[in-house]
Amino acid sequence: MLDAKIPSGSLDDKWTAYKGHCKLVNPANKRKLEVIVVGTGLAGASAAASLGELGYKVKAFCYQDSPRRAHSIAAQGGINAAKNYQNDGDSIFRLFYDTIKGGDYRAREANVHRLAEVSGNIIDQCVAQGVPFAREYGGLLSNRSFGGTQVQRTFYAAGQTGQQLLIGAYQALERQVALGNVKMYPRHEMLEVVKIDDKARGIIARNLVSGELERHFGHAVLLCTGGYGNVFYLSTNAMGCNVTAAWKAHKDGAAFANPCFTQIHPTCIPVSGDHQSKLTLMSESLRNDGRIWVPKKKKDERKAIDIPEEERDYYLERRYPAFGNLVPRDVASRAAKERCDEGYGVGTSKQAVYLDFADAIVRYGKIEAGKEGNDHMSMEDIIVLGKEVVKEKYGNLFDMYEKITGENPYEFPMRIYPAVHYTMGGLWVDYELQTTVKGLYCLGEANFSDHGANRLGASALMQGLADGYFVIPYTLGNNLADDIYSKAIETSHPAFEAAEKVANDRIQKLMNIKGKQSVESFHKRLGKIIWDKCGMARNEKGLQEAIREVQALKKEFWSDVRIPGEVNEMNPELDKANRVADFIELGELMCIDALNRNESCGGHFREEYQTEEGEALRDDANYMYVAAWEYKAEHEWNLHKEPLIYDVVKPSQRSYK
């Protein structure tokens, strides 16, 4: 079932050789080929714009009121590229190697190498579009460091890199809309894939304003619908982020790969109460300058500033001297959990650690004083100057922290705790980004391909744009070249009718339950099960319990959920119900996948499998594969294994010490 279609030849040449030999579609034929793009984040917007430029007839869909709002916009820290502008030894190979190692040797070499190869083109493309990256005084692009690397390869625009990149892609997309090459459908949600002769040939989408179900034909369908972090209810994802499109594709034949690989980001604002609806990330870039610590004494009730230096435990610097505060996310998150579980946590909930900028403020202040030639400046004045520098670097993040917590992070260390942030798992795709359903593609976070068991910081933006700008324009053509004789299919075709009936029946079924509990309350309960038992640490017993609990929750949902309002009107509760119903089913598969993987790797930490020092212990002999799950029936999946073959990198115990 799984043919990754990885080109032969040496790793360095695969992508070049592929591009040199793939089939092309001539401009006259492109005009006759229709492509559906679902989701308009970095992957979707860049794909829709690029395919429109090539001359395909594109239809793009998003659930938000404008493609500019997709959640890629919230990415803060930056985007990696192997430019080596800093002359610090970076190269395509190093970016490739860091990503493979960061992913704990569970990603495909060929895909990751291609990602590293095109990373530089992304920066060039974005600069050409007018993305205002941070610059040095000489006018050249600025870089900073991110976790899991020892070079400075991260390009950024203050703490709003995702916003600026998305606006760049959005503008390119709107240009194609203006030129008539792309038709945009905002406030639409895909509910079914339409398959004809085993090929994806369209979608059924709900117009979220009128409530009508619409049929849309496409010679190919691209899902660029982001990750499934909201299965945890609380996450740093936007409220509307959902797995529905990917899940419907899965139930229609697309294999779902490595669903248990989820990323818990170490630096988020801690939960403040039961009312909490979402969590907010504090960018990883803060770990460049912030030092993470907890008191050396358990249950220390003193204020942070009253705890003297020698009574603080800078546990990341202690455990991982080589990378210090810049270890990869999975390592930093587990270390924070370990300290809190041991009773060293801070704040009212004791589920938090400090991220402290006091040292950085003094360090920067002294540099500024030095620039002024003043070697005798008072500490107070140094601190004033240092705060100015920190404000320039991280001002918007500090403001955000202040608004949410009511505390001033320039005076007191931030309190942070890990939170769900990204999902490495997703629809299985081959080298061409095609799923196991012909004609159905998956790009960006929604696919599983590039980050293995853990994603490095500033790599999500890179992957989304690589897939959309530089990969799919080639690989789609290679497949559509055989489709130039296929005429557009009328949406009155029985397959469209049948798919619409499936979507409509489910909506009617949901509306007719007329139970007592809100959709939100079910979502919260699902999130708690998954967080407690399939979160930062998992074990066999907990996962077995979680599977039973999720199955029971599903029954209860389908017999007691209450959805007010009507079908044929705007009905946000109905939309949410559609999404939560799919999250529940995905939750079960996540636990099954986590239970199957009897090893720890990256973000998947099985308590039974750890080294003496508490690090993830892989089992390469038995689990060096992609777990691709094929849907059979309710509660029933078949496991297909794609072996991971490392020709170039030698997998070893990951060490950041």
């Binding site: 938000q64 009121d65 404008s66 709002r69 997709a70 959640h71 916009i73 919230a74 430019k83 920066i123 060039d124 974005c126 600069v127 050409a128 579009q129 007018g130 205002p132 610059r135 040095e136 006018g139 050249l140 203050a158 995702g162 916003q163 600026q164 606006i167 959005y170 503008q171 390119a172 709107e174 240009r175 809309v177 203006a178 905002p186 740093t236 936007a238 409220m239 509307g240 109460g273 009312h275 609806s277 979402k278 907010t280 100015e388 500090f398 403001d399 955000m400 202040e402 608004k403 949410i404 009511g406 001033n408 005076e411 700008y469 809100s518 939100e520 309350s521 209450r562 007010p564 946000p572």
Partner: protein
Amino acid sequence: MKFDLNNDKLYRMEHYNMNLTVKVWRQKNSKDKGGFVSYQVKDISSEMSFLEMIDVLNEKLIVEGAEPIAFDHDCREGICGQCSLYINGKPHGPWMANTTCQLHMRAFKDGDTIVVEPWRAGAFPVIKDLMVDRSAFDRIIQAGGYISVNTGNAVDGNSLPINKDHADASFAAAMCIGCGACVAACKNSSAMLFLSAKVSHLALLPQGEPERKSRVLNMVAQMDKEGFGACTNTGACEATCPKEISISNIARLNKEYLFSSLTSDK
């Protein structure tokens, strides 16, 4: 140097609970006339965000069998621009430089009455309750808010050094989140701050130079076509902008517009 925001309530560190009256604009659809409905909400924590307070109210409405209030929101971290709401007569509520989703309940006290309305502007018709249609903004961008460069072989990013001050000013304008608060705050429902932010973002960069004249002329024409009002320089837009986009961008827009009108070849 001051780091404190301009609302001292933000620093009220102690947590407290409050009971509130919330007067909300309810409107079934774009054709419905609509009107205010008052609701009581109890035991709201000062730690909650404003939208979490609406979540609590909606949960109560659903359990009671009523229809929940429809409102736009997504990222809930102040960057996507989807949330809106006119709160006590101000777009995005009482805090400066803030979006509704980042407004927290410590801005209010026990016993307060809070009035919640949708954005008010002819070019932003109400869809339902507090949701409005802001697609006019997308059409303004379609009229020229981009640099015409296809995906492909762009030159090396560092082959085009850009003066840092210009790059920073461009970035400051590009921070616009397209929420529409500027339009909602303006007595003329003018979209000049939104438009000027995009024109400035691109005009300040050398990449924007080739289309500099046609961009501003076409975007202004589209803005007029959408039914946004004229600018009379009251500055309400700048005062309400969650990203503190400067009104000096409007001055730049006017300069660009005049210059382009006089010198354009078309």
